[in-house]
Subunit: 357 residues, 4 copies
């Protein structure tokens, strides 16, 4: 219960440090009888893997996922599923000179404040490397949700440059290194990020993740609302500073006539005429697309020196020379998808537990 688990019935626990020998996770509560093999997981992990373009970190990790428990003869057994990835390209030496330094924007200072010590190598547990296991577990969650639920993510803004939502094309997200849903923005982002990299800086981003095909009725009232759990799930991704559902912050400026998606019967089914709710009303899914957006701050590790302090109470200047993503928002996209899948899978089982079928 010390913060490394997510979910109530479909429960993920991750372990491992950025520069330890391995990282891994345990998924407890997975329904039995689901077809599952490493080939079902690896493609999702590959989408998040570093080093695939010049816009992400150059750390080289095969990120080969191994299933070491919970699957027998190609099927989940209901026992805890254990997944492991061996760390390969961890250059701990890169971090020797930050052993006692507090990098601005990082968890260095807060880990010392909390625990009195820290594994400084690559950020230890606070590293985004941990999110590889989220993506792996998210692949299992997709199996639980079944083929009827489609979960996709896209980057909608990098730095100040946002996509044109009218040009949204999900297929495009697979064709560029940014998960951009708008082909026209790609060269713009390339120029922008090349410049950012050259200046030794970094950029923020906004990511949108969407789940189609989610049945109405998932989520709990009051505290464990589906949207509340999604807000937590997304805010738990490294560097995320904001989360919104549906119309989000724009809803503040709306009037009551605009907001409140109207309904009509269509082919015998309840149909919504808009989706400002983002697929959630009163904490429970409406059957419309679940639409979640989150803001990612710029990578804190930059080459430009910044003012800081060290453990011994000295003022220092610090620049980060390791291998880092100039825009962590890009690789946060598959992570956001995974968090959406994990949250939905948990609520699917919770709903079934309380309300049956």
């Amino acid at each position: 219960m010390s913060g490394n688990s997510l979910g109530q019935l479909f429960r993920l626990t991750t372990w491992g440090e950025s520069h330890g020998p391995e990282i891994g996770c345990v998924i407890d509560g997975c329904p039995p009888g689901l077809a599952l093999g490493e080939a079902d997981i690896q493609p999702w992990v590959d989408r998040r893997r570093p080093g695939q373009s010049r816009f992400t970190t150059q750390r080289r990790e095969a990120d080969r996922v191994r299933i070491v428990a919970g699957v027998f003869e190609g099927q989940t057994t209901g026992a805890p599923i254990a997944l492991v990835i061996v760390n390969q390209d961890s250059r701990s030496k890169d971090y020797d000179d930050i052993r006692d330094a507090f990098r601005p924007g990082h968890a260095d200072y807060t880990y010392i404040a909390k625990y009195g010590l820290r594994d400084h190598r690559g950020g230890g547990r606070s590293s985004a490397r941990e999110t590889a296991m989220r993506v792996a577990a998210g692949a299992v969650a997709r199996k639980v949700l079944g083929a009827g639920v489609v979960i996709r993510g896209a980057v909608t803004q990098i730095g100040p440059h946002a996509v044109d939502r009218d040009c949204w094309d999900w297929d495009e997200t697979a064709r560029n290194p940014f998960f951009a849903p708008d082909a026209a923005i790609v060269p713009e982002w390339e120029r922008f990020l090349d410049d950012v990299r050259k200046r030794g800086s970094s950029a923020g981003a906004v990511v949108e993740v969407v789940a189609e095909g989610v049945p109405a009725g998932l989520g709990e009232p009051v505290y464990d609302r589906l949207d509340a759990d999604l807000a937590k799930a997304m805010m738990s991704i490294n560097a995320v500073k904001g989360v919104e559902i549906g119309a989000g912050f724009a809803a503040a400026a709306m009037g009551g006539e605009e907001a409140g998606d109207e309904m009509r019967m269509k082919d015998g089914r309840v149909t919504f005429l808009s989706n400002d709710a983002g697929g959630v009303l009163g904490g429970i899914s409406t059957g419309q697309d679940i639409v979640v957006r989150f803001a990612v701050k710029p990578t804190s590790s930059i080459r430009t020196p910044k003012r800081s302090v060290d453990r011994h109470g000295h003022d220092i200047e610090i620049a980060t020379l390791g291998r880092h993503d100039p825009c962590v928002g890009i690789r946060a996209t598959p992570v956001g998808e995974a968090m959406l899948a994990l949250t939905l899978a948990d609520h699917l089982l919770r709903h079934r537990g309380q309300c049956g079928g």
Copy 2:
């Protein structure tokens, strides 16, 4: 575990419907030996009470909180604290004609989708009335945090009209019916909301809640991050559609040099030169102010008729004639404060459990 509890060690469970005989809550895990009486709770609940200005619902509730367990001779005993408020002004008849109708923007449809039935009177459990108990429990959480932690909230935007942050004055929030921290905006909001009411419409808002004096080191890594739990806490408030910490969504447009609050030693202590992090790094408090903002959609209950459907699959038009807040964001302010207090109290105890003192 069906969603009506919040927190792990300092754990709040609420119960009761808008138009049932009583609403109440149980707070389990409160430290023993805290001085606590009804007089410590009532003033906070009064700030949220309806009917205090023409800009909130005219439902008349004394909202008198009674402590029925867990306190002995003026001190908490470590046993569960039970609080109860009797519902007085519940006009269930007002709701007879929406018994089978699904009001747009409300949880009517999703409750039926989930449970197959619902207590339609005043929204039942999905009513914002439940938040009275959050505020009451938040008063207990403040006791746990102690006088050194000061938690305050302000409305920063109503409809499209935002306050001027340069004119921020916390004291001003107690002098106007909007919790506005900027005296200049008050007449503007009055005009705007009077117009909104006249048109039978409603308005959205943005609320900011801030905790000063929080020690560094609270929060957990990875999933139960302090900011993640805050995001969940705020998103669990009725009508909230977005949450941000510190710079929030604005961080997406920043460059790495701007973001990442720099540090310097000052009087022998680590001092941050800015607070874009909103007081949280790597999920753990930095010792700076915790700054959280959330967006509230316009009240869904408006007099203007909207298109909808009913349980029998008929298309209908629906207008809401009951007594409602034209801008629920206003009364959401004390609720947001309470959620901040509750989340911090829980993390204070969690930190003490794992790390001691």
Copy 3:
């Protein structure tokens, strides 16, 4: 999470002190659509009510249960169910002289050791009065389990006098004040307990609770085994010092040929030829009767003076003159039944959550 809740999906939280104004509970996670009224609960609570024979405490409590939330038009709504009983006959004065004394066998000393203070009136929270809410909640659990699951309890031993299991008759348990399943033991127990009362002493007991009709497949492997959760549930009843399932401690003396219930097909169904397992194998129900037994120590409150100490570090002699059960094991019977029902209902929902149908 401070110990006043039981269950994961069907979750009971109780509150209230023996001599406070009210006691109550919240049941969260109850499936919607169950027919439920106070008349479904009261009869079970009445079976535990004090003052029904000379063999139980003479405290007079109507123990009238009121449903204050979670039920609408006679059906559970899926919202938290809140139940309340008003305390009537609480003579706090009876306890004035034990305010600072530690009664042997009571929680007086440990509450002070833990919390630094205690509500000494009638044992406060450690009083068996709390179990009234367990019985009330157990009645709701029975609704969840449905009519196919029959849960019954019997006292099998009082002091050194055990029933003859060959004469077991469930119907008999309703005909005597001891829940004895063997008519022949009744006069023996009467004589024994009358003597115990006259001597100002008290007696221990063994209680057996049985659930028939439980489907195979309930329970979880490893830690949350059905039998492990039952052991916890029973051991959490006041004064219980031992729990066993099926053959229990007698299994230690068995050989491998005797233990290990054999199976045969009968009418196309798997049938067990014995039930030493008590209906649980590997933590999961077999479909046989669930059989649990627990030992209750003699009431610690006796008129015979005992040596003890007080808060000020003085040696004292202490006798208890209040109204007490000479054998708390008797009224523990409906409580044990309730704990069995609550545990099964929770596992029923957990099973449905993970494994469906």
Copy 4:
């Protein structure tokens, strides 16, 4: 939350099957700054290791524990501690003919009833092999408790042969293969178990585990009582059918004068004159020794054929020819110690969380 985790703040999750590639565990919530290395864990695991005498299974496992996360430069970091053991001597072929058979006394039938499929190799997840990780985690729990808390276990009965408690000598438990605290019983148990083995049978046992030095005040009232959590912990060990605390079932036959340990001041401290309570009153530790006893049924895997059925609904005869402990109670002793340590460590942190220091 599917049953493979134990504890709230000091939380153990285990994974892995008897005949899978590895078994492992994650310990979340461990306090930071504890000195911990593999050498602190291995000796405890070695005590449980199979193949150390002719009275335990002949399966050969080095059971070498590897720390793969959560420890940095010899200290716990507060991050999840991950431990792994590679399975070496798993002869899955031994189990080919029970693939579709339900062994009496095993979880074969119930796993199929619950999950619809099972990993039949060596019992998969229901194998006692899982307990190796409990012992490993228990070693970490001992670190949390500190050197002041001493946890020891002994076998007090094998088959019908019980030790003479007057001859109890803890040191003796390290000198014989039975963890017997009484030298005189050793040759008797040798003869008895040799005969049991020759007959292809098995024997039950009773194990007692004791914690000295536990401070008063640990445990929670009502449901999460220390004794209730201990009952669950012990009952969750494979083959355990009964648990008792202190006087246990014998308390049922006691009178009120005998039970209820009296107190006297001695050297300025509260001292108990007996320990029928087993160190727990009202669910909270008294400062006396915590004394827990549990009954272990005879190994279900025996060479003598027994009647059973298979998945296809056929009546069969089944004998088990694999390598098994003739008395699983022996190796359950270090497991019981571990469960005691784990439960106490969790309650130590819980107490510190709610009540401080």
